[in-house]
């Protein structure tokens, strides 16, 4: 049982890294980017390609995934995302769904529709036991990495100048702009960071979630839950939401497999219904 819990935490950690970028971009620009999963997929494929084609070691492929996704993110932000900020949520959703469809079909065309696998180095394989709890080495590795990331993100968000500007912009973009904070540049940076994190999460998650061209569609709902439940104003909110989701999903699938993904969707609808206003609509001037 504790082993399942452990797996759930590892899963939740990956979900957090995948989703936290989305929550910040959503809070900052009020922009609904359903295509966030596409960046995660990109990171995953970059990692797989790097390891299989060019023989890059696993640890080095992770930053590569981050950089690739961040780079594509910054370019796309400049080129096609920026005109979308002023449009309605419906338009944004349609737009990003279009992007998702293109990413799914494009990846299918380039890479084929089969599941991708990575070969983990031997020191990350297998599992050991502490006090009767089976702990997968790779999962422990994921938890450590993501935990470090979460702590440093939290630190950056609350303690640095960048973080305080970001928080100011999230709270009220107009006033922040009036105070001379370069909101647009801030947003581009944050967007790139969020995409990079998604890419990293995608690379880390290959072993846990699998990777195939339908990844952005399959996990879209997970990111959305993380963001809706966790709120968009902090790092801790999405973090706990991701944990909750990860544990609930793994435990649910393990104990009652026939229900499948049903639990997750029901959870989302219930949460949205019980807290319809505290989730997306932040008090904005």
């Amino acid at each position: 049982m504790l082993t399942i819990l452990f797996d759930g935490i590892a899963y939740g950690m990956v979900l957090f890294v995948l989703g936290c970028g989305l929550s910040v971009t959503m809070g900052l620009m009020n922009f609904v980017n359903l295509a966030h999963g596409a960046f995660a997929m990109l990171g995953g494929y970059v990692a797989v390609q790097a390891m299989q084609r060019w023989g890059v070691p696993f640890l080095a492929s992770l930053p590569l995934a981050f950089l690739a996704a961040a780079l594509v993110g910054i370019v796309l932000e400049r080129l096609i995302y920026r005109p979308m900020y002023g449009k309605s949520h419906l338009d944004q959703v349609m737009f990003s769904i279009g992007l998702v469809f293109m990413a799914v079909a494009g990846t299918d065309w380039l890479m084929g529709s089969t599941q991708q696998f990575i070969h983990l180095p031997s020191w990350l394989q297998g599992r050991f036991e502490i006090a009767g709890v089976g702990i997968g080495r790779y999962r422990l590795f994921v938890i450590v990495i993501c935990g470090l990331l979460a702590v440093s993100l939290q630190w950056g968000f609350t303690r640095t100048r960048f973080g305080s500007r970001l928080r100011a912009a999230v709270d009220d973009a107009r006033v922040a702009r009036g105070l001379g904070i370069p909101v647009n540049r801030l947003f581009a940076l944050t967007f790139a960071l969020g995409c990079g994190l998604a890419g990293l999460g995608g690379a880390l998650g290959i072993e846990l979630m699998g990777l195939d061209p339908s990844f952005p569609l399959k996990f879209m709902i997970y990111f959305l839950i993380v963001v809706t439940v966790g709120g968009t104003s902090s790092i801790t909110g999405p973090f706990f939401a991701a944990m909750l989701l990860g544990v609930a999903d793994v435990v649910g699938k393990y104990l009652v497999p026939e229900v499948g993904a049903f639990i997750i969707y029901a959870l989302m609808v219930v949460l949205l219904v019980t807290r319809p206003h505290g989730l997306f609509t932040r008090a904005r001037a």
Binding site: S88, L90, G98, F101, W109, G260, F262, L272, F280
Partner: protein
């Protein structure tokens, strides 16, 4: 005294809006004439008619009541499965199946409407999406009833009205679907040009003001949502009956996304948008399928992005200019 003149003016306006424009009559004559004009493409025409009905259903809530939905496939699937199961286990009469499909989907709409009516656009998008996904999972899990991933097989349909058998060329199918579409369109047309329809538009444009002038917002929206769900159910039932097969695909997310694209192409809020959009969408799909049968998803994604980024204004600008010229010919507004 003033209230009376006001009421008369409203009646007058509604009456004028209800009058048939010559272009509308021509549109429907053409739709029925297509049966004779394109005898080889009846299956495609049937698909267009069903998609048009589905789009009409979304237009009712999106264009008139301003409710956004990313999960309209839930009602399509509900109607399709209800009609399919009805035909399989109860009776083969198509019209009875159609009524059952509409009823079940409408019921689902009524039950889920309290969920949808809360919150902002974004919450609505997520909730409708969630409901559709839940239904998909349910249909997948209850394989003994729905056939799961294999689809619902073994549906046999009786003749329509006891007279017209379904054939492999889609002759009966097209006329059946088109007739249902036409009848439901007439109903929808009457509804949106009634005081009820006016109040929906009032809620859409300014819900606070509408409720201040005595419109029971929540109940009106729930009614519109239920009606729209029943329409989508009718489309699903037609799909199940004319193809005699129901698969999980009817509940899939891409159905809802396709539908959005249809309405974006055709434009929402004047009933014909869904119909025109459905024609354009299916022809486009057919055309692209001849070039690249795979990767249709890529093209639909590209169209979505391009439309939202600005193509919509261009197309609708051109369409409006053309419609303006037509209106001057026919005298009287097309809306």
């Amino acid at each position: 005294m003033r209230a009376e003149t006001f009421e008369r003016r409203v009646r007058q306006a509604l009456y004028v809006a209800r009058r048939w424009h010559p272009a509308e009559i021509a549109f429907w004559l053409l739709a029925f004439a297509a049966f004779l004009l394109f005898p080889r493409n009846l299956l495609l025409l049937n698909e267009i008619a069903i998609l048009a009905l589905f789009a009409l259903s979304l237009d009712l809530i999106l264009g008139y009541a301003g409710i956004v939905s990313l999960g309209h496939a839930a009602f399509l699937g509900m109607g399709a499965y209800a009609a399919g199961l009805f035909a399989k286990h109860v009776g083969a009469d198509p019209l009875a199946g159609l009524v059952v499909g509409m009823g079940m989907a409408g019921l689902l709409g009524l039950v889920t409407s309290p969920l949808v009516l809360r919150g902002t656009d974004l919450t609505r998008l997520m909730i409708t999406l969630g409901v559709a996904l839940i239904l998909y999972e349910l249909a997948n899990s209850f394989g003994s009833l729905t056939g799961g991933a294999d689809g619902l097989q073994g549906i046999t349909m009786g003749p329509v009205l006891g007279l017209f058998d379904f054939d492999i060329f889609g002759r009966t199918a097209y006329l059946y679907s088109l007739s249902v579409l036409f009848v439901l369109f007439l109903v929808a047309r009457r509804v949106v040009h009634s005081p009820f329809g006016l109040s929906l538009r009032a809620v859409r444009d300014n819900s606070l003001r509408a409720s201040a002038s005595g419109v029971p917002n929540a109940r009106r929206l729930a009614a519109a949502y239920t009606l729209s769900a029943a329409y989508a159910g009718a489309a699903g039932a037609l799909l199940a009956q004319t193809t005699q097969f129901v698969s999980l695909d009817v509940l899939d997310f891409h159905r809802s996304a396709d539908l959005m694209l249809v309405l974006i192409i055709g434009g929402a809020g004047y009933l014909y948008g869904g119909l025109v959009g459905a024609i354009a969408f299916k022809l486009l799909q057919d055309l692209i399928a001849t070039f690249t049968p795979q990767y249709w998803m890529f093209w639909i994604g590209l169209f979505l992005v391009l439309f939202v980024l600005g193509g919509r204004e261009i197309i609708h600008g051109a369409a409006k200019a053309a419609a303006g010229r037509l209106a001057r010919l026919g005298k009287g507004a097309a809306r």
